[in-house]
């Protein structure tokens, strides 16, 4: 669905160098701290910025060559932008009908009720969570083949987040659809994505299937003395702590079997992001 090959984008104090793939029928997550390059990558996929190098293809076509029909196959949620806030939900319906040939008004209205979105209130008077729900509703309303969701769960409470993720799972049921999603809430990605990319300072530093990430990665908490004694070849990142070292490994089982006396904890995406922030 999406193929990014060595996408380059230079800003004054930031350089993006990113490659990633979103396969058909897959949910791919993009994780990283604020300012890591997630939104820039999304904008490049949507043709909102010009790349300084590399290639971005969606549906097998270069982004610049995507036509209206192709764009209709994409549903979008952006972290820092939305539809004109001086409109109401009711105003949006005829706009969407004329924008998307497959706009499903009935299911759109049903989801508005489910999300408690008032139809006659201006969007600028919505809460952050309501605005986010509206964007998600719009993205789901026209049978898109690809959803591009930049922080779709931001501003949502726990139950709304769960409800949204369930809706996205339902959306994936036909089997030929894909999602590229970013979130700063790691648990959203861990329980939802098939594979995850980790981006840091504009570079993809890790790509793993979520199962592998959760099954094979772990955190070792070792003293200074233990650190110098153990085999360090499976350590992905290391951070100095007061008690010694906190080490991220991609072979948790190796350390469980060979070093039963050291503390080994489960690792998640949060751990990966945190470790990437510090020295390697």
């Amino acid at each position: 669905m999406i193929e990014i090959r060595q996408l380059q984008k230079n800003y004054q104090d930031f350089h993006l160098d990113c490659s990633l793939r979103v396969e058909d029928g897959m949910i791919t997550g993009l994780a990283g701290k604020n300012g890591a390059g997630k939104s820039t990558t999304f904008k490049a996929i949507l043709g909102l910025i010009r790349a300084d190098g590399g290639e971005v293809e969606v549906f097998g076509k270069k982004v610049a060559d995507l036509g209206k029909k192709d764009r209709e196959q994409m549903g979008v949620v952006l972290s820092d932008s939305g539809i004109s806030e001086y409109l109401t939900v009711e105003d949006l319906i005829p706009v969407m009908k004329n924008l998307y040939t497959k706009f499903d008004e009935k299911s759109f209205r049903e989801r508005c009720e489910r999300f408690n979105l008032p139809c006659h209130k201006k969007i600028k008077d919505f809460s952050t969570g309501m605005k986010r729900k509206l964007q998600i509703n719009l993205a789901l309303s026209h049978e898109a083949k690809l959803l591009i969701l930049d922080e779709p769960t931001a501003g949502l409470d726990v139950s709304a987040r769960e409800e949204l993720l369930d809706m996205l799972r339902e959306y994936m049921e036909p089997g030929d659809r894909s999602i590229l999603i970013s979130s700063h809430i790691a648990t959203d990605l861990e329980g939802f994505c098939d594979d995850i990319y980790l981006i840091n300072d504009g570079k993809i530093v890790l790509h793993e299937d979520t199962d592998v990430l959760l099954g094979k990665y772990g955190v070792l908490k070792v003293t200074e003395e233990q650190y110098w004694k153990i085999d360090r070849k499976y350590m992905v990142a290391v951070r100095k702590e007061e008690y010694g070292y906190r080490c991220l490994t991609n072979e948790k089982q190796f350390y469980l079997e060979n070093y039963p006396d050291i503390v080994i904890e489960k690792s998640g995406i949060d751990e990966l992001i945190l470790m990437e922030k510090k020295e390697k």
Partner: protein
């Protein structure tokens, strides 16, 4: 394009206070003034500027980014904006003309139907010129900076006119005579000339606006 026209119409319709004030002005001025031609011009130009302001509503809270992530090309966005603003000018000038013609009959003012039709046509031409000058500036600089850009452009036009008059004087050309020559042209020539100027300004303006939008990054 239809979707964007509907969006802009809904945006304008949402600004009820502004529309209400315009209606009040139309009623009060129409009931009391004899200068009905001015009423047509005022209504048309206000509506044109109001329609151009839909760009500010699109830009509000970074909304342009989302709009262009939808199935709307940058070129189509620009074309729609021109179409919408010109349609608004046309509709409001036509409605104002009808209303003033009605007022003329009821109040027996001294304005002839011909005068009012000419006023509406002139207002429409002015609306087109305003679109031609303001839309590229709005698209390039955004709602805030475009005010400064408009002021700079106004000053530049004044400076150019002043310099041209000064050069003309130095070369022994009497500008008053030049302007007088324009007055001597037949109405038909003036009308055709005005239409040609408006169309030329609009075409150049659309070309610049498309270029501005296609270069813009979000």
């Amino acid at each position: 394009m239809k979707a964007m026209l509907i969006k802009d119409w809904k945006l304008m319709k949402g600004q009820k206070q502004f529309i209400f004030i315009l209606c009040i002005f139309l009623a009060v001025f129409g009931a009391t003034s004899n200068n009905l031609g001015f009423l047509i011009s005022y209504m048309t130009l206000m509506a044109t500027i109001f329609s151009i302001s839909t760009i500010s509503y699109d830009e509000y809270n970074n909304g342009m980014v989302y709009l262009l992530a939808l199935p709307i090309s940058r070129r189509k966005y620009v074309e729609e904006k021109y179409l919408f603003c010109l349609l608004t000018s046309l509709i409001v000038s036509a409605v104002s003309l009808m209303v003033t013609l009605g007022i003329g009959i009821v109040r027996s003012t001294n304005a002839t139907s011909e005068d009012l039709v000419l006023s509406a046509a002139a207002a429409l031409g002015m609306g087109a010129l305003i679109c031609g000058f303001m839309l590229p500036i709005q698209l390039k600089f955004g709602p805030e900076k475009s005010r400064i850009a408009m002021a700079v452009m106004g000053a530049a036009i004044f400076a150019i006119a002043y310099v041209m008059a000064w050069i003309g004087k130095r070369m022994g050309t009497d500008m008053e005579n030049v302007l007088q020559n324009f007055n001597n042209l037949s109405e038909g020539v003036i009308a055709v000339g005005a239409v040609v100027i408006c169309l030329a300004v609009l075409l150049i303006s659309i070309f610049i606006s498309v270029h501005v939008m296609e270069k813009r990054e979000f």
